[in-house]
Symmetry: C2
Subunit: 230 residues, 2 copies
């Protein structure tokens, strides 16, 4: 079962369908429309945040769904599925894969790898570790993570300088070289060419979010480009 | 009033928010979410198809709305606002600009330019002529069209060979040179760079649709790029 789900994502596109704050799409209905459209367009998997939204997406698509719950911790930074209860909630609604913050930052007195180890031993569910650098990836793999995703590169205090306009091809190359688990490329992949390049350099799957499912931000890219001329 | 509406679009982005067929967004609510997101992202105008959808968009955004009604004629090709009644219906809901097919193809026994001439004299509304080539553009300008848009280039029998993967910069350059009315660049503008280039070569505004508001097609571009590698 676990192998079958992971196999379905090989060399494929995963579309992240998230909406927050004042986005007009910030509802289970809004993100589900995107998930349906993505699957119609050929996406092999969906990444989704929040219980109500993920529940509705699960009912409406027939591809593996990677679920997560974002919450802001006391240090002001967000953790991805940073609480034991988040994992229970996501498993209860039937997600196929759980994305968990794999950084060394604390949550419920455990580092990411320690938390992943606990979740793997207790539930045996498929875990995608969202990491920001190689050290975290190595520890998460040892802890039993099934997939390693570059989601958090550029979004932790230590990797903020990696948050450029480009996706981090170098990190993906490094992970592919050093780690035998599937590497999922995620973060700032905003063109079909960039997605293809990630697969070419060895990524197992590519996650695209903003460039497909955040029309407000896509619009602003066009507006900025035009402003730069006039 | 008319000048003020047109002024608002100068050197700006217009986002086309349309959905048809089995698109999950094919409802007034679906396209209105996109229109709201586009305006939040900085769009200066919205282009919208259909009475119910356009009506809801008009209620939810505070920028000029270009309305149109698509219908398939007997020759199998679509006309954009090809019927007198379509114009009346769009004016009744309060669109700021009406997009009208400006090709020479017949509709209600009139060519595009003849139809535009009739509409301009009867209603005095702002008309955007959707054309496919220079000859149509010249005739539509004479007929009184306020704005000329390249929407139909690549979509009429005579211009099918122009339907490449790239936007038609040459046609926009030619129109800017030969026509004094504002030229609106529309069609296959799928990157911020292409949009900026259109403004650079003299387009008055740029319309982007698919690349912002059709997540199913955007997804398929990524899927195809990945397939081309593996």
């Amino acid at each position: 079962m676990s192998k079958q789900v992971i196999d379905q994502l090989k060399n494929k596109l995963i579309v992240s369908c998230q909406a927050e704050g004042d986005s007009p799409f910030n509802s289970p209905e809004g993100v589900t429309m995107f998930a349906k459209a993505a699957v119609m367009g050929g996406a092999a998997g969906i990444r989704s945040e929040g219980i109500d939204k993920t529940k509705m997406i699960l009912k409406n698509v027939n591809v593996p769904v990677i679920g997560l719950i974002k919450s802001k911790f006391d240090d002001g930074f967000v953790r991805i599925t940073g609480r034991y209860k988040d994992v229970e909630d996501l498993l209860n609604i039937g997600v196929h894969i759980i994305a968990i913050d794999g950084t060394f930052r604390n949550r419920e007195n455990l580092s990411g790898p320690e938390f992943i180890n606990k979740i793997k031993s207790e539930f045996g569910c498929i875990v995608m570790a969202d990491i920001s650098n190689l050290d975290e990836a190595l520890e998460c793999e040892k802890a039993g993570a099934d997939l390693i995703s570059t989601t958090l590169n550029g979004y932790t205090p230590e990797t903020l300088s990696d948050k450029t306009k480009s996706p981090n091809y170098d990190l993906v190359k490094l992970l592919v070289e050093k780690i035998s688990s599937p590497i999922i490329a995620e973060g700032r992949i905003n063109s079909p060419e960039a997605a293809a390049k990630m697969i070419e350099i060895g990524a197992y799957s590519v996650v695209v979010g903003t460039a497909i499912t955040r029309p407000q931000i896509i619009t602003s890219w066009y507006v900025e480009a035009i402003k730069s001329i006039k």
